[in-house]
Symmetry: C2
DNA sequence: AATCATTTAAAACGATCGTTTTAAATCTGT
DNA sequence: ACAGATTTAAAACGATCGTTTTAAATGATT
């Protein structure tokens, strides 16, 4: 094993290039060159380009979803012990905050997240289905939790609003090009990131709690 | 001129295939075959694949944006004559309703809209920049109008929330795959479409009006 | 009838793609 | 030191891509 695993370098390079150019527009040659690895190494370790994408997604999304799932459980058990119903905003925070905290962890995480933000509505069924399969159980859990938090709203309406939530979130997560439309694109520090995150949470909470 | 213009048939075929497979995954050969036209006809009429995409976007997006712009103006002048401030929900409706009404007009419109829904966050700069340039003026107009409607909120916050609005909307517009996650995918009639539209409007209005 | 724009046909261009193969080299664990 | 897994090198595979070219055919206009 050299300084870093070739497998890891391939995952890092693929993650970075997929996020910058998309899956279809990124060649295995570009990935292996960026990873300072041989072209054959990609197929040796992963078998195919699609399997490489799956590995890229699973490496970070499985732990992240576990974290979000745990935080939803935490809100639910706290509510259960108090005898109260879970709070909408607490559930929204459980769903959103780990994503943005995770995003700040490293450059790789940040790039990864923009793959995810796009994967949801990707026209490419390979990308979309891979993502949906990974996220499906978590969405179901959030849906059930929000049905407890908003017992006066029909289940289908809540699901639709979760749908909007994921749209706003995904959009927020890969907003290259949109920042240019706003004048003061001077500083995009973590300060702006917190601004964005908190606004997203209040926006989405208000939307979820809107009267029927 | 035959039954329908070759140029029009090329636009229709490109629109349909771009929406189903994405820009990068759709070849000019697939487009010209679907349009029952010659491969050379695509470059003859449009010059390049990118120019064909631009033509596909402009054909429908320019009239649609004009319609949305007119309706925003309408809300603003009505408010001005009354002396009142414009309503948030009226502005949201002006922005959203034409899109969904337009979507119901024809199969082509529906397919077109899902190109737009994805273009916003596309990893491909060709697709993204084309779309952003076409939408930029309308977003600025909506932003100014909402600043009048919500004078107690800072301008930057409102812009961020418009950002979330476009995310929820774009997501809502090309939700292939997401419907599968909800059990009763039996009927996706225009009834469901109205349900979706009205929920989106109330969700987004509540989010925009949320306290600061 | 003549001119010009349109459309078709067929082929080729250079380029890039995912994948596979063959061989040698290097590393790792026992 | 040996065996097995890893990595490199280089080349080739069939396929697809956007674009261009050449030629002939068809259309519409004057």
């Amino acid at each position: 094993m050299t300084q870093t695993d070739t497998k890891t370098r391939l995952l890092d390079a693929a993650e970075s290039l997929f996020s910058q150019q998309g899956f279809a527009n990124t060649s295995l040659r570009a990935i292996t060159t960026a990873a300072k690895a041989n072209l054959a190494a990609a197929n040796y370790h992963f078998g195919s380009k699609e399997a490489l994408l799956r590995a890229v997604l699973e490496r970070r999304l499985l732990p992240l979803n576990q974290q979000r799932s745990d935080r939803i459980d935490q809100v639910l058990t706290e509510a259960a012990t108090t005898g109260a119903i879970p709070g909408t905003e607490a559930l929204v925070r459980a769903f959103i905050e780990p994503t943005f905290a995770f995003r700040r962890n490293s450059t790789g995480s940040s790039e990864f997240i923009s793959i995810v933000g796009r994967a949801m509505t990707s026209a490419d069924p390979v990308v979309r289905d891979l993502f949906l399969a990974l996220v499906h159980p978590l969405i179901n859990k959030l849906h059930l939790a929000l049905c407890l938090a908003l017992p006066h709203l029909p289940s289908k309406l809540i699901f639709t609003r979760i749908f909007f939530t994921m749209g706003a979130m995904g959009h927020c997560i890969c907003f290259s090009g949109f920042a240019q439309m706003f004048k003061d694109n001077s500083d995009s520090n973590s300060e702006d990131d917190d601004f964005m995150t908190n606004n997203l949470i209040s926006f989405v909470t208000a939307g979820l709690e809107a009267p029927c």
